[in-house]
């Protein structure tokens, strides 16, 4: 531990999110899919928000989407002090869910709502954390 400096929080998988983090370790974006409702959901939950049933599958997502919104962070979250100012985006994936994530390779002035994005990964703890970069 480097004493006083805030560390980026490391996700601690729960029982029902383990497949997501197992996938992340291999840089695969895994999403929950409800075959009854024929819909993906994010973040993972023990049951489907559409049907209330635990009948959920894990499917690998395309990792592609568009930027739905973004904000330029001038006051950092824990562990992001050296990135200020940095961009956090809300990405709408092709699968029909949204994810909030750090944008890499995007200067604040270059972020544009609607721009195509694809998933990328950053090492955090003993796993990888999802981020998004421009899909050029």
């Amino acid at each position: 531990m480097s004493d006083k400096k805030a560390q980026r929080p490391v996700p601690r998988p729960s029982f029902y999110t383990k497949p997501f983090w197992d996938g992340a370790r291999e840089r695969k974006l895994m999403l929950q899919y409800d075959p009854d409702a024929q819909a993906f959901q994010f973040w993972p939950r023990p049951i489907s928000v559409k049907t209330g049933k635990a009948n959920l599958e894990w499917r690998e997502a395309s990792g592609k989407g568009v930027l739905y919104s973004y904000t330029v962070c001038h006051v950092p979250g824990a562990g992001f002090e050296e990135r200020v100012p940095y961009v956090v985006g809300c990405i709408e994936l092709a699968e029909g869910v949204r994810m909030v994530a750090n944008l890499v390779g995007v200067e604040p002035q270059d972020a544009t709502i609607g721009m195509p994005m694809r998933v990328t990964w950053e090492p955090v703890g003993d796993t990888n954390y999802y981020a998004f970069e421009p899909d050029r």
Binding site: R8, P9, V10, P11, R12, P13, S14, T17, W21, A39, F40, Q41, F42, W43, P44, R45, V49, K50, Y68, S69, Y70, T71, V72, C73, H74, V75, P76, G77, A78, G79, F80, R83, P85, Y86, V88, C90, E92, G96, V97, R98, M99, V100, A101, N102, P108, I113, V124, Y129
Partner: protein, 393 residues
């Protein structure tokens, strides 16, 4: 639409209390809660033995205490037959008025004390758990300002947002705080539209002066039957006449329009229950964690059309002297946010105005008021709970 259980005006608010707002007071929620209770007893000549219902909010500063409400009864010396802690964040105060009214009508109690108290600038014991540790905190998005930065930017992509309009609202509310002796001392200095525009970026496009600041403080009400209010000789009782609330609006939709909030449902619904339109509302006391939330409420409750919030604010005098006074005591943004007791700040000011006790900032002909609540910031949407309460003197 559900039946309006408040239509007969058989429930009345008979007293309000509020402490001054302080930063890092070193006090606890119990200190502020007891100060509120004591003021309510003083004002009504009631004693702890006379209170048979107690409604509280769950404070951030007592978040680790699973028996907060039970402890509170013991601090107050109250022996309630109906006890409730409401945890819908900033909707808890308006929500407690409705819950207390229902409990009174159901015969569970007759004299309800409602107290909100919190001291998060001294200690914040909140730990959110759930999905947040895995799917929010590691993203670098800084708390509520970050999520509101996303919301504001999306609004700007869909509609015309004029920062001068938000600046006008900020400056007007600040003028209210200057006239409010309970407002946090350091906020009792005027600001201009330019001060707002020049304030530093936090989560662009959201600025520092778009946002609330945690303070320590408390507020509360006494609620009883209208019959009892008459025998108590209350001068100007305030009646809740309509209430609507929703939590997890759009909660099953993974890709909703995030600029669409629960107020698009509960705003028009509460007005319909009261038999009113937005034009009938004399003053508006909206929950104000961020300025953009007030603008969205103006549009979605129906004071103006979608995307017209900026122009409405520029065209309307929203000071206490104006056509639609908004948050006349400074609101939370200028008076300070007493943690999860914040919703009670907007509510207390509305009741004070309706009782004609707002002093230098008194609204003329303050016959009715709309008070709202916003609770909890969910993942990649706007807010979790929305509530609208309409009061009449």
């Amino acid at each position: 639409m559900k039946d309006n259980f408040l239509k007969d005006k058989d429930v009345a608010i008979v007293a309000y209390a509020e402490t001054r707002l302080e930063r890092r007071s070193g006090k606890s929620a119990f200190d502020f809660a007891c100060a509120v209770a004591s003021e309510l007893f003083d004002k009504t000549a009631l004693a702890p033995k006379d209170i048979d219902g107690l409604a509280l909010i769950g404070p951030l500063s007592e978040a680790g205490n699973p028996f907060w409400s039970n402890f509170a009864t013991d601090y107050f010396g109250i022996t309630p037959r109906w006890l409730q802690t409401t945890d819908i964040g900033g909707c808890s105060a308006t929500g407690n008025v409705a819950r207390a009214a229902a409990a009174i009508q159901a015969g569970m109690c007759e004299m309800v004390m409602m107290v909100g108290a919190d001291a998060p600038s001294t200690i914040n014991r909140a730990h959110y758990g759930g999905y947040r540790g895995e799917f929010w905190e590691p993203t670098g998005l800084p708390g509520p300002p970050g999520m509101f930065g996303l919301l504001m930017n999306r609004y700007m992509a869909q509609y015309d947002l004029k920062f001068e309009a938000l600046g006008k609202l900020a400056a007007t509310q600040r003028a209210g705080a200057v006239l409010n002796p309970n407002a946090y001392d350091k906020n009792r200095v005027p600001i201009t539209v330019d001060d707002y525009l020049r304030s530093r970026q936090v989560a662009s496009p959201l600025r520092l002066l778009d946002s609330v600041m945690y303070c320590d403080g408390g507020n509360g009400l006494l609620i009883t039957t209208t019959e009892r209010a008459k025998t108590m000789g209350v001068n100007r009782p305030v009646h809740p006449i309509a209430y609507s609330e929703i939590t997890n609006f759009n909660g099953r939709d993974m890709t909703p329009d995030i600029t669409e909030t629960g107020f698009s449902m509960v705003g028009p619904e509460a007005l319909a229950k009261a038999g009113m339109t937005a034009a009938d509302i004399r003053m508006f006391h909206p929950y104000d964690d961020f300025l953009i939330a007030e603008l969205l409420q103006l549009e979605q409750i129906g004071f103006c059309g979608r995307g017209e919030g900026s122009q409405f604010l520029l065209d309307t005098d929203v000071s206490f002297k104006g056509r639609l006074p908004i948050n006349t005591g400074g609101g939370q943004i200028s008076a300070g946010q007493p943690g999860l007791a914040g919703g009670g700040l907007n509510l207390t000011e509305a009741v004070r105005q309706l009782m004609g006790e707002a002093g230098e900032r008194q609204v003329a002909d303050a016959g009715n008021a709309m008070v709202t609540g916003i609770g909890v910031i969910p993942y990649a949407r706007n807010w979790g709970s929305s509530s609208v309460l309409i009061l009449e003197a």
